[in-house]
């Protein structure tokens, strides 16, 4: 659509984190991200693993501009997030970033198909070469088929199984063809077959010049990444 370049350039930085620190005060002060450095280039599939509660999700939210770092610098597609205004940050999120949240969050009043159309329509708002209704429908159909929920297009989210909902969340993040995919435990609730399919889909992002930053506690899926890190005491350690 828009996010990926017409001419694919690999190895140029898509996102960079320089000495990023984030602390919370919940009773006591906790510091889940404590001086993280990371450069994520086009073509990268990076996995970050670690036990629950260590700060992996926080790191993804920082990169996605949903959280503000206390210090350090984060840039996405050469745009430094610190100091950027709310409107531009939202546009950046819409056109450059795709989120797969750990928790399944869908628009409950919209059908499976409408959830995807809604996401595409929002991105359409910010782009010059807008997708036509026909293109949107074709794209929705392709992603739903690919993730095995093509026959559930008119279903409401609550009528799906947990695994099907998870796949819908993945489809929503990928259908806009973002430059950077932030995936928080994307294989949760999935059997091996569909987990494998999701990972394959994620791999198509770096293949077209984008990048994936995936958080997982599952060693098996972490192995599919070309760069692997473990999060420990608020910093990333290469594995």
């Amino acid at each position: 659509m828009t996010a990926c370049r017409d001419v694919i350039k690999f190895n140029h930085p898509i996102c960079e984190l320089k000495n990023v620190v984030k602390t919370y005060k919940s009773g006591e002060i906790v510091c889940p991200v404590n001086g993280v450095y990371l450069q994520c280039n086009a073509g990268d599939f990076i996995s970050i693993k670690g036990p629950s509660g260590i700060g992996k999700s926080t790191l993804l939210y920082l990169v996605g501009g949903l959280l503000q770092a206390d210090s350090g610098e984060i840039s996405v597609d050469a745009t430094v997030l610190q100091g950027i205004n709310e409107h531009d940050l939202t546009v950046l999120r819409a056109t450059r970033i795709g989120f797969i949240f750990q928790e399944i969050n869908l628009f409950q009043a919209l059908t499976v198909g409408e959830n995807l159309v809604f996401a595409l329509n929002i991105v359409n708002k910010y782009t010059k070469n807008k997708l036509s209704r026909v293109d949107i429908n074709k794209k929705v159909e392709t992603y739903l088929e690919r993730l095995g929920i093509g026959d559930r297009r008119e279903f409401l989210p609550h009528q799906l199984s947990v695994g099907q909902r998870r796949r819908l969340v993945v489809a929503r993040a990928l259908i806009t063809e973002p430059l950077l995919v932030l995936a928080d435990e994307p294989t949760n609730d999935l059997d091996d077959f569909w987990a494998n399919e999701v990972i394959k889909l994620l791999q198509s992002v770096p293949a077209r010049g984008g990048a994936v930053l995936m958080v997982t506690h599952d060693m098996l899926w972490a192995e599919w990444a070309n760069r692997r890190y473990a999060m420990n005491h608020g910093v990333l350690e290469p594995k």
């Binding site: 260590i54 949903l66 939202t90 056109t95 989120f99 949240f101 928790e103 969050n105 991105v123 929503r172």
Partner: protein, 399 residues
């Protein structure tokens, strides 16, 4: 956002119905108050316009119940000597003076009309009050066996009706006045006097009254250039033992009563409005809370703050509009029986609801509902729009 808001409403029926119910009840009460008050006001204006006379002269005994005499259909057998008319005609400033005689039908098996209904008899030569009404109905002349009926009088046996033993032909129906005239029979003075003299049952109701020698009311038109109050004072000086009422005075008194009732209604209405806005703010806050996660998703996938604001405002306005439409329709349906009920207990002039007022009430109800909904949704919409996306997505998820 419109389609999205509609989907949210239609897919969450239980919550939506509660909000619609609150709105529709408020709008229903509002529409009822509005329609009732407007109808009441229109009735008074119409009465003023159509009363015709500048001054009414009634027997002294009526003084405490002048409104009942003028505005209800209750039979009111009050009389004064016919000589009063001659005296009044001599008073300076009196242009026209026309007498009327009030008699009534009886609850008697011999009569076709089976309830007590007022009959107003008038002189065709001098009448200037009823004439315009008859003209509207294309009635040129009233023969001895002909009567005209008020718009709410039921006709018996097609166009014939039996009154006090005689059969009369109904030659016309008067337009609505909102007064007791709507439930009255109108006939010639001579005929009425003959009936009152010969009917034995009526004689019992009017003992010691010689119908040939009395009138019930004298309606006066003041000459141009004369002050109504001055002419009324001149009549008073003639010491005729009568009650003199200027129609301005009647209408002013009714308007004063109307204004007081209106103030009380407005007070209740404002209270109702405040309670409803608070209730709706509560409803819309709950609505926004229930969509918090989805707002977070919307922001995360590229929705602006304004999109969240519009979403909540649109959804609230849509709910309020539906409630408004329902409430307006219910209100319009309910106000008719309310007016009928109040007509029985108050000596006020009220008309039947007209289509113009119905449309006006409907539109006003819907507009009020949208305004009310929009107003009540502003705060929850603003709060929702200013929430940081991570706050709504990540709560319980972060770590």
């Amino acid at each position: 956002m419109g389609k999205f808001a509609w989907k949210n409403i239609s897919k969450r029926k239980g919550q939506s119905l509660l909000t619609i119910l609150i709105t529709s009840l408020t709008v229903m009460v509002f529409v009822m108050i509005f329609a009732f008050y407007t109808n009441f006001r229109q009735g008074v204006i119409l009465s003023q316009e159509r009363l015709g006379a500048d001054i009414l002269v009634l027997p002294n005994e009526v003084s405490t119940d002048v409104y009942t005499t003028l505005y209800t259909a209750e039979p009111n057998n009050i009389y004064m000597p016919v000589e009063v008319l001659d005296s009044i005609k001599k008073v300076e400033g009196v242009a026209l003076a026309s007498p009327q005689l009030f008699i009534q039908t009886l609850n008697a098996s011999c009569c076709a009309v089976d309830s007590e209904t007022r009959i107003i008899a008038f002189e065709t030569d001098t009448d200037f009050v009823l004439r315009p009404w008859f003209d509207e109905s294309n009635i040129d002349f009233l023969a001895d066996d002909e009567i005209v009926i008020g718009c709410n009088v039921p006709a018996y046996l097609g166009n014939r009706v039996g009154i006090l033993g005689d059969v009369f032909r109904i030659v016309g129906t008067m337009g609505p006045t909102g007064t007791g005239m709507d439930e009255t029979y109108f006939m010639n003075m001579d005929v009425a006097k003959r009936l009152a003299t010969t009917n034995e049952n009526l004689k019992e109701i009017l003992p010691n009254i010689d119908p040939q020698a009395v009138y019930s009311a004298i309606l006066i038109k003041v000459q141009n250039g004369y002050n109504i109050g001055d002419v009324a004072a001149n009549i008073g000086k003639a010491d005729l033992n009568v009650t003199i009422v200027t129609t301005d005075e009647v209408v002013t008194n009714i308007k004063t009563q109307m204004s007081m009732i209106g103030q009380v209604m407005i007070l209740f209405w404002i209270l109702l409005l405040v309670v409803t806005v608070l209730a709706l703010i509560g409803r819309f806050t709950v609505l926004a809370q229930a969509r918090k996660k989805e707002m977070g998703i919307l922001r995360a996938i590229g929705g602006q703050k304004s999109d969240v604001f519009k979403w909540i405002l649109f959804e609230a306005s849509l709910l309020a509009s539906i409630g408004g439409l329902l409430g307006s329709i219910l209100g319009v349906f309910a106000v008719g029986p309310l007016i009928d009920l109040l007509k029985q207990g108050f000596a006020f002039s009220m008309l039947a609801l007209n289509s113009e007022l119905i449309v006006e009430s409907l539109l006003l109800g819907i507009c009020m509902a949208i305004l009310l909904g929009g107003l009540a949704a502003l705060y929850p919409a603003y709060k929702s729009a200013t929430l940081a996306p991570q706050e709504v997505i990540m709560r319980g998820e972060i770590c």
